[in-house]
Symmetry: C2
Subunit: 284 residues, 2 copies
């Protein structure tokens, strides 16, 4: 299948490597946001643009009958994005797989599976240690901040500490900047530590992690305990998951299973190269 990439930041670069490593894919081109996209000849387009631009490009491609995969990550807006894109996919007989990264994405699949295994109980998703893009952008927006890095540190039960490393603009006062940051809505509700550093670039690292735990009830049996951990290169995993989902989108379109789908709506075997029979023999 021919797979094109739209947008070429961290995720786009990682997706390129994953397409090249896939035994059943051909890279159909890498396009920038502002390119003319009419020449695009692809079965699936990976939308590696900033997340806020994803819905627009997803709708454009779906209207042309081309499958898309994105890693749209604004959790609260996923249901409305899905419900708006779904009829466009059906009208044009195509498939869009949305929010296909690790959270939302593979973590969502694990959460769904654990609900099926122990329907009553509590799941906690603990993120990090790793860089939070949203909090980093919020910190950079504080007056007097030249550059920033906000690390998410898991404290368990879904509670997180924010370690915010800031490079000050010349002449700005640390205490003033710190007070403004601690009042910002992104930081006001969590334990937050602000640390002045000479170079934020020297700290940058795309490592991230997850610790997802559930204790629940299967039937009437309590104390069923589950845990999923990962320590990963963040853009590499996101790009790989998108590429695996491109395979699923292509196959679902061929079978006529049209629509906008999240990863909990896909059969995991569709993510993998090879036949169903080969994967059943190897993995079940």
């Amino acid at each position: 299948m021919k797979v094109a990439i739209l947008g070429f930041g961290n995720i786009g670069h990682a997706a390129e490597q994953a397409v090249k490593a896939a035994p059943d894919m051909e890279l159909a081109g890498i396009f920038h946001h502002n390119d003319c996209l009419d020449c695009m000849d692809a079965d699936v387009v990976l939308l590696c643009t900033p997340t806020r631009e994803v819905p627009k490009f997803a709708a454009t491609m779906a209207a042309r009958g081309i499958c898309t995969v994105d890693s749209f990550d604004i959790h609260g807006q996923i249901p409305s994005f899905r419900s708006q894109l779904d009829p466009v996919c059906h009208a044009n007989k195509t498939v869009s797989i949305i929010s296909a990264g690790w959270d939302p994405g593979t973590d969502s699949v694990i959460r769904a599976l654990l609900m099926a295994m122990a329907p009553k109980g509590l799941t906690y998703t603990n993120f990090g240690p790793g860089r939070s893009m949203g909090h980093t952008v919020a910190a950079k927006a504080i007056p007097g901040v030249k550059n920033a890095l906000s690390m998410t540190i898991p404290l368990g039960t879904g509670i997180h500490r924010r370690m915010v490393y800031i490079e000050l603009e010349e002449g700005s006062d640390f205490k003033t900047v710190e007070a403004a940051l601690l009042k910002d809505d992104y930081f006001a509700h969590d334990e937050t530590h602000v640390i002045a550093v000479d170079s934020v670039d020297a700290l940058n690292n795309v490592a991230h992690g997850v610790n997802l735990v559930r204790s629940g009830v299967s039937g009437d049996t309590h104390n069923q305990r589950f845990e999923f951990n990962m320590e990963i290169n963040n853009p590499a995993l996101t790009g790989q998951v998108m590429v695996s989902c491109a395979r699923a989108a292509f196959r679902m379109k061929q079978r006529g299973q049209f629509g906008a789908k999240t990863m909990i709506e896909l059969a995991p075997v569709d993510l993998l190269p090879g036949s169903v029979e080969e994967n059943v023999a190897a993995l079940v």
Copy 2:
């Protein structure tokens, strides 16, 4: 949906509790192996018989157009069981979900998901501590053994120790029994310890566990590390997974997605009560 249970051992009892706890299911009856099954009025039958009897009952039910779910657990025979049952399901427009427990079953889903996240690398599934049914039966078959319990102890990288607790028959010699057991094909290849006890019943416990690890490559990025752990009541989890799969079988039949399917061929959202929209909002 109306769900019946065939077979009423450990798994059948656990499945009954899970059906009763499900908000969208009605228990359509519990049947024993030798019952006349013609009176069965169910949308889905959970096959909780001994595993070797599963293929026969699955084919009988599929021929009557009734969905089934089983936890057939002889790994090497799953592909042939699936390929033989699949045409019966298609011919009778029904769905059978096979090998739906935790391994094979939910572990298979995790293994498939991790392959999609990091296609190159090694996955190790470490079982236990917990009772191995196959090894326990093999130990009981050794002459001079009155009762036995074989515990599986994980040593990492898929290597396991066997701790075998035996109750001797009167007049039998421990050293003779131990030597025979250590030569048995079930035990000859693993580190095995044989321990004589007064009462095997006093040790019985349905706790089990899994530690599933993968280190792999996403795109061209190495050292992506993943781990799944669980500590569970074994029959309770198996029964619950079967009941969740009953929901998926029922829905897939309604959509015309007929066939014999393993859990890696199901969309996880189909395992859960409630609408797709509700589950996307809650879990993605």
